[in-house]
């Protein structure tokens, strides 16, 4: 096999060598390959000249265009911000009622708010706003702090029990943990509270009276004499059928025994005022729809 042979099929010569029966043709590199080598290299060369490219020990070639990805994105974001401000600016100035009167503005709100809600709020309150244990539904009538525009806006801004200087503060005391109430007392008051919203109707009247007495001594300062809650304190109404954590025996026992301290993030640093207004309008609209 030491002789160069001509491959009958392609007409090219072999290199005259074989390895375990494998031979190689001495075909020239096709012109197309050189063509593409040239194109890619020339393109790369141009790109290097224009853009930041080669390192030079303690600095690097900055490129004739002076392009910088950080500056580029900041400009893009700033420009987009200006564009959005064109329609968004009134959100910071008008009241919710006034905004609702401007259909065009509401179109923007309805377009924008679902994503804002999805990326920021849905993790707790659910994509359908119906909440989860520990995270209240936003489409029912039960509101811890109130559902008027200003209240929601403020809750969004400062959060609840959040690391924000003005945060809303609310705490359900740990009545069992701190020995204020004994275990039987807690069980009694659970039965009483459940009876307020029509749960567990078979409890003897005597036990309910005991429960009411315990409630009057310990709970009314926050939840009110009639147990309808006090929104200024973020204390929930206990006579409706909405429960943040759950109205079953075990959950209620835990709530009273261990206490609760819910946590709503303060969004002032992450969301603009206009964003928070859009979310407020969005929530109110969804709640109104749910009622229908």
């Amino acid at each position: 096999m030491s002789v160069k042979e001509r491959d009958p099929l392609t007409g090219h010569e072999t290199t005259g060598h074989e390895w375990d029966g494998i031979t190689e043709l001495n075909t020239r590199v096709p012109r197309a390959v050189w063509f593409f080598v040239a194109i890619t290299h020339i393109w790369a060369l141009i790109y290097w000249v224009l853009m930041p490219s080669w390192p030079l020990v303690t600095t690097y070639w900055k490129g004739l265009l002076g392009y910088d990805q950080a500056i580029a994105v900041e400009e893009q974001v700033a420009k987009a911000y200006r564009d959005i401000e064109v329609w968004r600016a009134p959100l910071g100035e008008l009241s919710a009622e006034e905004i609702r009167e401007i259909p065009e503005l509401m179109t923007h709100v309805e377009r924008t708010a679902p994503t804002l809600f999805g990326d920021n709020c849905a993790a707790c309150h659910g994509t359908d706003l119906s909440g989860a244990p520990g995270y209240p539904s936003l489409i029912d009538d039960a509101w811890l702090w109130g559902n008027d525009t200003d209240t929601i806006l403020e809750t969004l801004r400062v959060g609840i029990n959040a690391p924000h200087p003005d945060t809303r503060f609310a705490q359900m005391l740990a009545f069992g943990e701190t020995n204020i109430l004994s275990v039987p007392e807690i069980r009694t008051v659970v039965d009483y509270v459940q009876s307020l919203s029509g749960l567990d109707p078979d409890v003897p009247a005597e036990r309910l009276e005991q429960g009411q007495a315990i409630f009057a001594d310990n709970c009314t300062s926050c939840h009110g004499d009639n147990a309808r809650g006090i929104q200024d304190l973020g204390a929930p109404n206990l006579t409706d059928d909405a429960w943040v954590y759950g109205g079953d025996d075990a959950t209620m026992f835990k709530t009273i025994y261990d206490g609760r301290q819910g946590w709503m993030p303060a969004w002032e640093d992450r969301l603009t005022e206009a964003d928070r207004m859009m979310l407020t309008l969005y929530i109110q609209n969804r709640a109104a729809e749910a009622k229908q």
Binding site: W34, V73, G134, T272
Partner: protein
């Protein structure tokens, strides 16, 4: 014209092919050739990252991970969280809009190794710190679909019942110091105690943590159980500091985050 452009390439190749022809008769010749050809690229791309000063921004206030946060980071690695979550907000408008200011090099200066990730099956976590409550993080880690029905994340409930191993923390911090994280002797020596202290507010240990790591340190019962220091404490402490090590991103950006 075309021929002229192609000429230098084919001339160079001819020289190259003849050199190769000689080299392929000697296994050492090929070896040296391969090592030389393959070494250039890596050297030119990696070495200058150490020598060019403005590769990493300077932030004198950049803080280090506390032992508890570092332990949480090790759990994040152990569980392979990086396979689905990135920690790198790119310089793209939509990422800045969705996740906040783009990530700076200095933010992962003490990340050995970095956890920028390569896939977002779940969302980016570079700025997830303090976005949600500890309780939410705990419940979400234990049973993600109880809060986010659409989620495909695995459940990590076992973290709540697994005590955090703290004895190895001084060794871990010492190793990190060897590779460049500026822990003090005191921080290394007290790492195990500090991990406990960070999860027991209003205790002597907690005050010591504050003294050693600064007042801004999150000192909380992260997992909701005061009686026990669990792996959940560590992981949540880590998640809550993501994006919080440096104030530089928020201060340097002229842009409006959202």
């Amino acid at each position: 014209m075309l021929r002229k452009i192609l000429k230098p390439f084919s001339k160079f190749f001819e020289f190259h092919a003849r050199t190769h022809y000689r080299a392929e008769r000697h296994s050492m010749g090929l070896t040296i050739g391969i090592i030389a050809a393959a070494a250039v690229g890596g050297f030119v791309e990696i070495a200058p990252l150490f020598s060019i000063d403005d590769t990493v921004e300077a932030d004198p206030n950049m803080r280090v991970y506390t032992p508890l946060e570092q332990a949480g980071r090790d759990i994040y690695i152990r569980e392979g969280c990086y396979a689905c979550h990135s920690q790198m907000i790119r310089t793209l408008r939509d990422e800045v809009d969705r996740y906040g200011p783009y990530s700076l090099a200095v933010e992962s200066q003490y990340d050995h190794p970095m956890l920028w990730g390569s896939k977002r099956t779940g969302p980016d976590l570079a700025r997830v710190g303090e976005k949600f409550s500890d309780e939410w993080q705990v419940q979400h880690l234990a049973d993600p679909r109880s809060l986010v029905p659409e989620s495909v994340m695995p459940q990590y409930a076992f973290l709540l019942n697994t005590s955090l191993e703290t004895a190895s923390l001084p060794g871990r911090l010492a190793a990190l110091r060897t590779v460049g994280v500026p822990y003090t002797d005191e921080q290394v020596a007290n790492a195990a105690d500090d991990a406990r202290g960070q999860a027991i507010p209003d205790s002597d240990r907690a005050y010591a943590v504050e003294e050693r790591y600064g007042e801004a340190t999150n000192i909380r019962v992260f997992d909701g159980r005061r009686d026990r220091l669990t792996e959940m404490d560590a992981l949540v402490a880590y998640l809550q500091i993501l994006g919080g090590l440096s104030d530089l991103p928020r201060n340097t950006h002229s842009s409006e985050g959202d």
